[in-house]
């Protein structure tokens, strides 16, 4: 078998988990072991679909709106039509688990320095040519090693590891919506805060149903141009913008990440349009992170994003009136710090995923008492 690297991701995660005193968890989840292709994947009826004529179904979870014939799957690769009933094949089937600092998501305004028990299944509803997690997201569940990890066990493992948060991340939580929902319910029941890292490419109804269960969500806004979404992502811009507005309307804490890909989405004009839209539609207090691209997956012919491009975006964002503009994947850059928009004092000093200092007092600047929005307790 040659999916060694994908195995390594999982084993690495499992190893990390073991280091974090998860032998019980691993003993429990090892019941499944590898998901060899010959196995019949466990399935639960999916939540969002409608039945069509002649045994076909239409998925109503994401804007791809896949029409799926019997024995076929949607674009995500994790939902399958079996005799006219649509199933999710990944509920409780985690292929990657890890305890990360919340800064890694990144959610800079959510419990700084706390651990997020992070999990993912296989599958994704888009195909970014620059996907950083393609060895999970672009594979089908039978193609990666995975563990049976029901929501209650996942949350119990999070607590044992001192994680105050869970994070559905790495792959695309939209495609394991039912698992995300059930983990969030289990987490909330014991005071653990559920968070999600998503592309936001989801239909409004399922988004609205899950949002009240979440403490925070980070959305990757991959570009402000529909053409980029169609060519580089195989998605659409408009539904993502709609999701961002719905998230703000519901009031769940939101942060946005924009991966700047050299020559494709990093022009000053596009960054300006994006920041102006965020300012106008979402407000100045939504953090926007501009992060550095590194060549991977199908975009290996471009260089890493020049720091100058990131710094230009940083300035454009602040000039557009955004209060919290950050830079990512440039450890040690001042763009990692949280600054008070009133007195300009540094409130949280970061290097990479590490917190060097946190001067916030009850969510406010200690110098000018400006309230800083976020989830601080």
């Amino acid at each position: 078998m040659s999916f060694d690297r994908r195995k390594m991701i999982v084993l690495g995660a499992a190893g990390a988990a073991a280091n974090l005193h998860l032998p019980m968890l691993l003993a429990a989840v090892a019941q499944r072991g590898s998901s060899a292709a010959g196995d019949e994947l466990p399935a639960r009826e999916a939540s969002w679909y409608k039945k069509l004529e002649e045994g076909r179904v239409e998925c109503e979870l994401c804007p791809q709106a896949c029409k799926v014939a019997d024995m076929e799957r949607g674009m995500c690769g994790v939902r399958e039509n079996r005799g006219g009933t649509y199933y999710t094949l990944v509920h409780s089937l985690a292929c990657s688990i890890h305890t990360d600092p919340i800064e890694k998501k990144p959610l800079f305004h959510v419990l700084p320095g706390e651990k997020a028990f992070s999990f993912s299944t296989a599958g994704c509803n888009v195909e970014c040519k620059f996907c950083q997690n393609w060895e999970l997201s672009q594979f089908r569940p039978e193609q990666v090693q995975a563990y049976n990890l029901p929501p209650e066990k996942l949350v119990a493992a999070a607590r044992r590891n001192g994680a105050r948060l869970t994070a559905a991340t790495y792959g695309e939580p939209v495609v394991f919506w039912e698992y995300v929902r059930d983990v969030a319910i289990a987490a909330n029941a014991v005071g653990v805060k559920p968070t999600v890292v998503s592309n936001g490419f989801i239909k409004e109804k399922p988004l609205r149903e899950v949002l009240p269960l979440l403490s925070a969500i980070k959305v990757d806004l991959k570009s402000f141009r529909d053409e980029f979404y169609r060519k580089q992502v195989r998605g659409e811009l408009e539904p993502v913008l709609k999701s961002l507005e719905v998230i703000r309307e519901i009031g769940v804490w939101l942060e946005i990440v924009v991966l700047l890909v050299p020559t494709l989405n990093d022009s000053a004009g596009e960054v300006h349009d994006l920041c102006s839209w965020v300012r106008a539609k979402l407000g100045p207090d939504v953090p926007v992170h501009f992060t550095r691209f590194h060549p991977t997956y199908r975009l290996t012919d471009l260089p890493p994003t020049p720091v100058a491009s990131l710094e230009r975006a940083w300035k454009i964002g602040r000039d557009a009136g955004l209060n919290y503009v950050y830079l990512g994947n440039v450890p040690g850059h001042p763009g990692e710090n949280t600054t008070c928009p009133a007195c300009r004092g540094i409130l949280i000093r970061r290097v990479g995923y590490r917190i060097l200092s946190n001067r916030l007092v009850k969510g406010s600047c200690p110098d000018c008492q400006r309230s800083i929005p976020g989830v601080w307790s």
């Binding site: 078998m1 040659s2 999916f3 060694d4 690297r5 060899a36 292709a37 010959g38 196995d39 019949e40 002649e54 045994g55 076909r56 791809q64 896949c66 029409k67 014939a69 019997d70 024995m71 076929e72 799957r73 949607g74 674009m75 995500c76 690769g77 195909e127 040519k129 393609w134 672009q138 594979f139 089908r140 039978e142 193609q143 195989r234 997956y297 199908r298």
Partner: protein, 321 residues
């Protein structure tokens, strides 16, 4: 039947020692653009063809596809004794609508009789489970041939071909030096037709990504990847029982007894023939054609444009035996 000399036998056994390693043929066999060899083969649903019937049909279609005097002679034109031959079967629809074991074995025998070591003939599908459901017996090392699922044994990095970016099964990228697509004649709810070309979706890790727009241009893009294009020798279509509606899964109401086996060195022409037969059956039943049914067959034009074969019905040459 072609008889092998002792020297040829020795060569064959020498090749056998290299089982599992692709030895590229030193020659590229000729392609016969637009030519589809068709032989009659009738059976009831769920009933096997007799061994001799299967051999006659397979040999007849194969011979007609390349203008050879016999099936073995035709196979000898297409395959070298040094080849590792991979026969990709499409077993998605289970036993009722997958390539018949007896037809596949007839092809295996014809190829073996040209001197290709049986250990170097691999019948494969995505998984062991799908093969077993279609009635194949898993044979890791043969005899009389190998029969295995690729079971997620993919290249580690994706490679791009047109609009697709996929990790290919190592079975096609490195194990095999010659390939056969062995499909069935059936309707597909998105691409219109699933015959020989769409069968190659089974060698990429992410077929689910490429079903929009009637699978176009993706079917052509998979087929024109060098792993496929440079190794494809033959497309065989089992049309003993075909399906004109309700595919790609088996659906009883769409089944019809076409009673034919087709072979072609031109993958586009083979699918064009399948399309024609499906449309013919639909017309006989008073059903709308595939375009009117909302699934126009677009991928053949893209495949022809990419130089993979002939999609012009006027240039389709069906040689019936």
């Amino acid at each position: 039947m072609t008889k092998l000399t002792r020297r040829e036998l020795a060569l064959a056994f020498g090749a056998g020692a290299l089982a599992g390693t692709a030895q590229a043929s030193t020659r590229r066999p000729p392609v016969h653009p637009g030519v589809v060899g068709v032989a009659e083969a009738r059976a009831e649903l769920g009933k096997a063809l007799g061994q001799e019937t299967a051999r006659l049909a397979m040999a007849g279609a194969l011979a007609a596809s390349v203008g050879a005097a016999s099936g073995v002679e035709a196979a000898a034109v297409l395959f070298s004794p040094r080849d590792v031959v991979g026969i990709k079967v499409n077993c998605l629809a289970g036993k009722n609508l997958s390539p018949r074991v007896e037809l596949v074995e007839a092809l295996v025998n014809l190829i073996a009789e040209t001197g290709v070591d049986r250990r170097n003939i691999v019948v494969f599908e995505r998984s062991d489970r799908e093969l077993q459901r279609a009635g194949f017996e898993i044979r890791e090392s043969g005899p009389p041939y190998r029969c295995i699922g690729t079971n997620n044994d993919f290249e580690r990095e994706p490679s791009t071909s047109g609009a697709i970016g996929s990790c290919f099964a190592r079975m096609v990228s490195s194990t095999c030096s010659a390939l056969v697509s062995f499909g069935v004649v059936k309707d597909h709810d998105l691409s219109g037709v699933s015959a020989g070309m769409k069968n190659w979706y089974g060698v990429i890790h992410n077929p689910n990504k490429y079903h929009d727009n009637g699978c176009d241009p993706y079917i052509a893009d998979v087929a024109r990847h060098p792993y496929i294009r440079n190794k494809l020798r033959l497309t065989v279509l089992d049309g003993v029982i075909a399906q004109c509606h309700g595919g790609p899964a088996y659906r009883q109401g769409g089944i019809f007894k076409l009673g034919m086996v087709a072979a072609s060195t031109d993958p586009v022409a083979a699918d064009l023939w399948a399309w024609r037969e499906i449309e013919s059956e639909r017309a006989m039943r008073g059903m709308p054609n595939l375009e009117a049914a909302g699934r126009p067959v677009r991928y053949l034009a893209s495949a022809a444009k990419a130089g993979l074969g002939i999609d012009d019905p006027e240039r389709l040459s069906v040689v019936t035996v």
